[in-house]
């Protein structure tokens, strides 16, 4: 049933795009009335889910990694809200430092790790060292 609905919607959207153009009025209506609200609703649902999961993080058991993760998330949220900037002078600078130095450093580390892993996997595949199972 769901597959049928999906196929009908797919065909309808394709037909509308072909007939009236990708930015024509019917396509714009589909986009504004269906696609955009659906995506925004999903993102809002994700925000609630992440908030509740963050609240359950320490209940699973306390350790430093979880505590640091939770504190950093709350700190970043407060910085985004601009709530403490007026009360605590220098808070926005600290928040910027966490974001621009610690956050960027961690992000670059992850990207470098992924790139090195992909490079190593590629070299192993080319050299024939890493053969798939079953051969």
């Amino acid at each position: 049933m769901y597959s049928l609905v999906l196929l009908v919607v797919l065909a309808t959207t394709l037909a509308v795009g072909l007939a009236y153009g990708p930015t024509g009025r019917p396509a714009a209506w589909i986009f504004s009335a269906i696609v955009m609200p659906a995506e925004i609703s999903l993102l809002a649902g994700l925000a609630v889910t992440l908030g509740v999961l963050a609240a359950g993080l320490l209940a699973r058991g306390w350790n430093w990694f979880r505590a640091v993760l939770l504190i950093t998330a709350l700190f970043t949220l407060l910085g985004a809200a601009g709530a403490l900037s007026d009360i605590l002078p220098g808070f926005s600078k600290l928040q910027y430092w966490v974001s621009a130095v610690l956050g960027v450093g961690a992000g670059r580390g992850l990207l470098l790790g992924v790139a090195l892993g992909a490079l190593a996997a590629g070299l192993k595949a080319i050299a024939g060292i890493d053969r798939p199972y079953g051969r």
């Binding site: 908030g51 985004a80 621009a100």
Partner: protein, 321 residues
């Protein structure tokens, strides 16, 4: 004889692999049993409570008297100042290439960031060329232009003042071609704001023929694609970015070098909005965002406390790990 030894070696090797796989599968089972044993799936009442409080906080500024919950006056960071200086240094009738690179889900944040800049460019009679490497980008661009035209009370006349050139296929390679030669988007793909095909738009020149390249994005990878593929060919043309709060930290290292200025998140967007003279005195949207985000933090802290309390009561011998 040798054949027998090889077979034995292969047999041992296969056995070791099988044992390794069995260990991995067993570890997966163990971790699942640990997760299932804990009380730690959020219960329905927590989700409902969180949702209700968050929605109430987001809506409160719209129902309270104006000024009751004032949006905190945003600071004016250096990046925002640089952004404003670049916009104001543009010549009359400047040609601006606008890359609309965000998903519909983020339109609330990024349209808010983009609108004041777009209005300012329109008042300067800038000629806007909109492109995107996302399939939904052309519609987002059209929404942006329509909203800005309505707010400004001056409808831009496509294709003389604004040209929505639509989708650039090929992701990075498409951007590389755009940077190198221009004209890579199909001129027939240009549409007027009304959706009907307008006059044949001119071929898109290369990126360095514009006076400004402005990228609006929620995705650090897409922003980086513009920096790395198009940036080197700009030949002195300033590159500025309006980024969502989640994309900002990963693109910020480029600020000041490859990216001349960037505005990140609603707070900086509001600062720029105020500087350009479009900020409302009692901005309910900003107040709603600030209140909802602060409330989310408070709710998370309350629920953390409750969850820890519930865990201690349900298993008093264990306490916290």
């Amino acid at each position: 004889m040798n054949v027998t030894i090889d077979n034995n070696d292969e047999f041992d090797q296969a056995q070791r692999k099988a044992a390794g796989l069995a260990e991995i599968i067993q570890a997966e089972r163990d971790s699942n049993s640990v997760l299932q044993a804990g009380p730690k799936r959020p219960t329905a009442w927590q989700r409902i409570l969180f949702t209700v409080v968050l929605v109430a906080a987001a809506l409160a500024p719209y129902f309270l008297p104006e000024g009751r919950l004032p949006a905190s006056p945003p600071e004016f960071p250096a990046g925002v100042q640089a952004f404003e200086q670049i916009i104001h240094a543009l010549p009359a009738n400047a040609a601006v290439l606008v890359a609309v690179e965000y998903q519909p889900a983020y339109s609330g944040e990024l349209e808010r960031l983009a609108q004041p800049v777009l209005l300012d460019l329109m008042r300067r009679q800038a000629r806007l060329v909109m492109v995107s490497t996302l399939t939904t980008g052309p519609l987002q661009a059209q929404n942006l232009i329509i909203a800005a035209s309505q707010a400004d009370g001056y409808p831009y006349q496509s294709p003389y003042e604004v040209l929505n050139l639509g989708y650039i296929p090929g992701e990075r390679s498409g951007l590389k071609k755009l940077a190198a030669a221009g004209g890579q988007t199909d001129p027939e793909s240009g549409y007027t704001l009304s959706g009907a095909a307008g006059l044949a738009p001119p071929m898109l020149p290369s990126a360095s023929d514009f006076d400004l390249l402005w990228v609006i994005s929620d995705n650090p990878d897409l922003a980086r694609d513009w920096i790395e593929q198009v940036g080197p060919s700009l030949d002195g043309v300033p590159l500025v970015m309006s980024l969502s709060a989640q994309a900002g930290p990963l693109v910020r290292p480029y600020a000041g070098s490859q990216v001349q200025a960037m505005v990140v998140g609603l707070q900086e967007g509001a600062a720029l909005e105020g500087w350009l003279g479009f900020m409302q005195p009692n901005d309910q949207t900003l107040a709603s965002y600030n209140l909802a985000t602060s409330t989310a933090v408070i709710m998370i802290l309350i629920l953390v406390f409750l969850n820890v309390l519930i865990r201690r009561r349900s298993s008093p011998g264990q306490g916290l790990d």
